[in-house]
Symmetry: C4
Subunit: 511 residues, 4 copies
């Protein structure tokens, strides 16, 4: 066994000419890798000769260096006692955040999925929050995703026996407790040290399916390993320009027991998310963005950095090949118009997810629930409503949202950010409670609309006309008129002495 390297040894290689970095106690020579780094060389050079673990971890699965860096560049263990720990600058924003964490609300005070988001916003690192919470352009689609559910209202049946409510269903043949799955979201370790594995455990506890993201912080195998026997997982796939790599991923997933392949079709290029870009600006340290070397704009955000391998040339022609390399059911994730659903049926895939990628790709793309309302009547008209499984994701926050989607014809819904926020704020306990709250809401709401089982859900239970009339934007506000208007106000409190003179009345007398 060779002797350990010292901090001083590594520190000598601190330039683009010779660049060593330490990750998890081991040194690596990344000099030749610098120009290939998807996040740009600058971000690596910031850590040249130093320990980069903290920066490396949330963005790279554990096996990244093994997979992508030639063994000859693995320089072996470092005696971490000899590595100088750099003093960090005082950051008043970070200090304030740590204070907020001290005071964060107890978990039991979260009564719905929005509550986790409110807490997460206060306690997450700024850049992590920006990455998770951001959407494309003006974030209109991102917000529309949830608000679109408010265009659908219930027409409940009364006097139905709902003593026993069964909210279980099947998705791609798997029996689940409730019709949602944990959809794929990237970089889970930004929010919580455990990363996606935390979601695996939550999904197990509530018997729902987890979709494993291509861009996970944990490696695929770590996430599979975290599952208990019999627990079902799916794989979300960004298709690599190099189809051999893709093929290996797919075959490996199938071999490991994955039960569904969700090919993302709405991301030939990952979106511009300005909130993310802005948060990166003053923080070259977390600057993982560039697509082409050192001179790129230093503010592209995490999304662009990690996605350069995705093939923008992916097209319908590729689908038969996918069908040929796996027996897993194939689902197209990100379909957004009825024409493409019909084509998906024709081409023989097993499902589609009507999705706009959480509002992170194309702004003013329509919500999944709206596309669903466009798709299902056409399918029914053509007798195709069972030809394929239809899922939606985006904006699901309440069990009522799930019910609306199912009434309109979805097989299930994907939920992403809410579980990330629950995890970021409270870890597994947060994920567990978030799912438990959904079940509690679901049971109650099925009772209240008069449905004892998923099979009872149907379009007659909702009024979805609000989705039919196009997107409403009101006339810009009449500033002058409004500010001249003297709004009505309620009764005024009395001055104290006046009240005293009058003597007690009403509630006062009651005390």
């Amino acid at each position: 066994m060779s002797p350990k390297l010292t901090g001083a040894d590594v520190a000598q290689h601190s330039s683009a000419d010779s660049c060593w970095v330490i990750v998890h106690g081991r040194a690596y020579d990344v000099t030749e890798f610098l120009p290939e780094h998807p996040g740009g060389s600058k971000i690596i050079l910031k850590y040249a000769g130093k320990d980069a673990t903290e920066e490396f971890d949330p963005i790279h699965p554990r096996d990244t260096l093994d997979k992508y860096l030639d063994r000859s560049k693995h320089l072996g263990e470092v005696d971490m006692q000899t590595v100088k720990v750099e003093a960090k600058d005082e950051d008043p924003e970070e200090a304030a955040r740590l204070e907020r964490i001290e005071r964060m609300p107890p978990l039991e005070q979260c009564y719905n999925l929005m509550d986790f988001e409110a807490v997460a916003r206060n306690v997450m690192k700024k850049t992590a929050w920006a990455y998770y919470s951001s959407g494309a352009d003006d974030e209109i689609t991102m917000r529309e995703n949830h608000s679109a559910f408010h265009k659908v209202w219930f027409r409940p049946r009364v006097l139905v026996d709902v003593e026993k409510v069964d909210m279980s269903t099947t998705m791609l043949g798997t029996k689940v407790d409730i019709p949602f799955y944990v959809t794929a979201t990237a970089l889970g370790k930004l929010g919580h040290a455990e990363g996606e594995v935390c979601l695996t455990k939550g999904a197990r506890k509530h018997n729902v399916i987890q979709m494993i993201p291509t861009l996970a912080s944990c490696s695929f195998d770590e996430i599979m390993d975290a599952a208990e026997p019999g627990q079902v997982q799916w794989l979300q796939l960004y298709v690599n320009k190099n189809r051999e790599i893709t093929k290996k991923i797919v075959e490996h997933a199938e071999a490991r027991g994955c039960k569904g392949l969700f090919i993302t079709v709405d991301a030939p290029q990952l979106g511009r998310r300005e909130k993310d870009m802005r948060s990166k600006f003053s923080d070259t340290g977390s600057n993982v963005q560039a697509q082409s070397g050192d001179n790129v704009d230093r503010s592209q955000g995490a999304a662009r950095a990690i996605s350069s391998f995705i093939d923008p040339g992916l097209s319908w022609k590729d689908i038969p090949w996918f069908l040929s390399i796996t027996k897993m059911p194939i689902i197209l994730k990100g379909v957004q118009r009825v024409e493409d659903v019909l084509r998906a049926i024709e081409v023989g895939v097993h499902g589609v997810v009507l999705s706009n990628h959480g509002g992170r790709q194309l702004d003013t793309a329509r919500s999944g629930i709206e596309v669903l309302a466009e798709v299902m009547p056409v399918l029914r008209q053509q007798g195709l409503e069972t030809a394929i499984e239809i899922y939606i994701d985006g904006g699901v926050r309440r069990a009522t949202d799930i019910l609306k989607a199912l009434c309109l014809g979805a097989k299930g819904v994907g939920i992403g950010r809410p579980f990330l926020f629950a995890m970021s704020a409270y870890g597994l306990a947060g994920v567990d409670r978030a799912m438990a709250l959904l079940k509690e809401e679901m049971e109650m709401n099925m009772r209240l609309i008069g449905a004892a089982s998923i099979a009872d859900l149907n379009p007659g239970l909702v009024d979805a006309r609000g989705l039919m009339g196009g997107h409403v934007q009101t006339v810009p506000v009449d500033t002058l008129g409004l500010s001249a208007y003297d709004a009505l106000s309620g009764p005024r409190e009395q001055a104290r002495h006046a009240a005293a003179e009058k003597g007690g009345m009403g509630p006062k007398a009651k005390l």
Copy 2:
């Protein structure tokens, strides 16, 4: 006569093993009752060995202990002089509330029903306010209930002789002064010491009907007893899993002279009201929530606590039985779709209330006025518009709201919270004024739409197209664009000296 118990006697029984409590000067052994308490044992144990009267009162009718606790557990009178009075913690919120009560606006400053709500919000106990004012989930339906009336506009007739306006009508055969009734709302003593009896008196004064709630703070008989001879009352019924209990209640009500049986059909389970749940969190004392013993989440709110007896299995099959056990007219309260109105006619009941339970049950359920606009054209088309009496409730705040409902075909409307708020703030005087204001508005507005009597109201007097187009949600706001916009502002005041130089003009000259 046995000697009185002392405080010390009772204080010895302060655990789950032996639990005595004092209520209204009498001791009770509730040890065996602990596991059966609908509100959970924890809340009782907090008062084990102590006086629980203050906590007991608003939630339990007087006769509760007589009815549900075996005589053998009634331990007799306690010498209250010997009972230690516990010092209460100082509570700055409560102190601020008491100060607000000192300054509360005089009753005559309330000019409409919203005014009572504004005052009540300031002067009610936090938990009582939370129980009354809360709705399901995001409280969207709760607010929609009133705002839906703003989708209906008037088409008044002019040049009609309206010197004499008669706003009286009949409901289930009873002549009333104005077409509203006091609908059933639970736990009246949370707002006012007198509870539902206060509403009885108000209803009498204005000759309108009171619907007595199953979950009243006062007992059914107390409320009946408070009525004057000839005063008509109805009973709202939550159907018990044990039909024998239900039968007794119905027969008793009929025997006592109740003139209508309103069976609640929209509450197989009482709703989650997060505002209520949140208000309970820090207050185990008022924690009356659990459904199954001690380990329940301590924040379910009052509603869940008191409703475990309700039968979620109630269905259309049960209706003939109800028709068989009483001669009172039967009305289904909480119908929400035209299909169920047609079925109600078929099954032979005498009326329906189109209601979403004040927005407390299913969020994004439609408002009563909207369902009415769906129902009546179908009934008219089928010649059934007089086959049944149709009522609505939810969101009625103005006489114009009542008029809109009647124009669209309702026989009358139920009003709940506004009278609770008036009562909570000002007692009977508040209820009286609230009703008087409605009458004043009603008379004026009937004149203004050109209707001299209720019979003159018809659909041609309103434009209800706003209810027909589905639920409108606008495009999420363009944050960046709006914040960059430099809004117009009006004329600017002059600096003082500039004005002085110019000399007086306009109003100044007039002084």
Copy 3:
């Protein structure tokens, strides 16, 4: 000539048993009149034995005492030197108002009609502002009146020769410079000492017609006298229960040269205006409200006080009688549905004003412009579009509003409050500028829509579909979701030193 009375003489009669008051230097014995006073006796008794001029003036035309108080009760002149001047209480609100008047914006800073309202709100007496600015109930119709114009958009023609623009038209045969008239509004002296006469002068200057209100602060003859030769005025009529009085008024108006009789048909009872009522509460002094003696609620506002004579029994049957007693054209003011326009044509009147009385009567009554859009297609279909002159009023603030009304078929529009506000803030100069601004806007906008004359206006120049779909109310706001949302923000300013290090750029370099 009898010697003058002294202050001491009058002061002896300061009770309900013997009540004298001084008005404009003369004493009156109003003891017997007390129970008949429409505003209640209380308000008079406050001035018993004292000088009531200041309170009397804005509410009563000069000739009131001559007309309604028997000559025997006119006690003659008072030596005002001998009348004690009462010290007024310091009123901080009033002091603040006087300060605001010192700083009020110069007139030239008012660029539109809203600007006058903004200034008036700051400088008018609270009760006067409340009387002018208030509307019925929630003031929804009052605001809808203007905002409804924003539902109508232009479809301008280009490349039309608009060098010369002629905006003159005729109304009931009178040629006017621009198609608006000054509509009738009550109690002009509340806003300005000169009262309605100020509007007479403004109307003259701009050659538009003034409609004289029944409830003017100036007497009818004062207003007629203020007109210059050839200046046209109309009369707005509230019909008295005593038709003889009404007949006298009509005949007198015709004799004096009035050119149009506008019978108000939307006010069988004057509306409840809560802002007005609330402002009166603490001010018994200006308490002119009661309908039946002393014990009335002391907060009914000015409107109710002055209107008890109005006949709520007025009906279509009365119209032939009006046609028989005058040769003036008769116009029904306040028609609100197409059916009543058709009936007006049938009954033979000469015009209608589609109006909701400035939103002061029935809340959620439709705007004039909306009713117009309902009426005209029906008239055109029946070939009746020229059978009658159609006017609208309510919410007109911009020349574009006038143009929209005329495009849709109105002959002209009435404007009320804006001139009151201009007058209240700046007197005649304000009224003059307000009208001049409208003319300036009108000329420009006729050019911009490609209309060289009023005859060029037609429905094809507007897109009025926004008026056709009913009244839109959006789904209640998703409070939790919105507050959890982290809105986008623009670029952040740099800390000062950072900018300094970087050196100048952009605009900085330019300085």
Copy 4:
């Protein structure tokens, strides 16, 4: 060579009787020109006998004095050393602005076109900002222009090969990199010393066309001279009452190589822009507004001042003459209804711009994108969709806006203010970045809607129903109801000590 004049020489001519001014170091006798000055004589007299360069520059092209002032009045050079420099008053607003400039955000922090506007608002001179940012009346149309794009949503195609995206197209035969052009906007030097020439350079860099404004601060030739060989420019034309002047301008433009003549047809009179007028009020110095001599209202704003030559008589009859005097393609700029597009085709022009002049002319005129949605279906129905090139402008801020216009049938879009704001804040670098951002957005968004080239864009890619239903204005807000409502709030933070007792959880544990 004559000796230079001195400051004292000039200072002697400081009245209306003899008025000399210095501009760029040369003296001019403008005494006789005073009454003809479009901006009124007052503004010149303010500088009588003084140096007027600073005021003169942004509003007048360099060659103005040569063109419009007789040679005999050019008095020759002034020795500027002898001219007294006037101390300026301290202006706290201006001082604050200069401070804001010190701290202005670095250019790279601008991620979209709205960001430039936000910065410009902070750093531009108040009057310049007011001139650029203002719109007609209530600025409703100005804001609608952008918000109308939010009524159009995408229906993207997935699984299209978008590896290579070609966003180039042709406009009037010229190949451009991206389908927008820099539309004409007046007075470029108000925002930046270099004026329109700055835009010329930006347009060159990104290979897009610049439209040269009639009312440029730079002279036409300066702007043409600034172009590089082969760079294409168009001319925007306000037609002069004197057609000979117009003819000369057109012929000169053609001779200099202009490739398109855009005749403005929506401005027979330049609009009232109240924000501009208000900003001028206290600043007679920049008071360039009057149309007829000295006594005009001193607050008409820049627009009215510079536009008195425009011919309001321009009509369809004139178009053949234009076609006869030039071979440049003629485009009508400002068409607003389908009827006029059809007429444009009939009359033989080559294109139209559907535009409302940036919301600066007629308020509540419809947006270009809405008119486009009206026009194209009619053209397609009549087989005329290629008969003419259709452009739109107004409100374009995002590449998605451009894509929506092109999907609906536009050949390209004009962008004005955003480049002015970018230039005003950051000069050429700002313009460059603004255009680069649009290209970056455009490439991404074409990928995301599944269009590899401009030819792939078609109406099926958008859902434009939101443009079809008329203009939506919601019911005025229910003030009392809203203020009584107690909105939901999220989980509350704990007091510090409570949290400390509980010990760490969630994120805290992670630290």
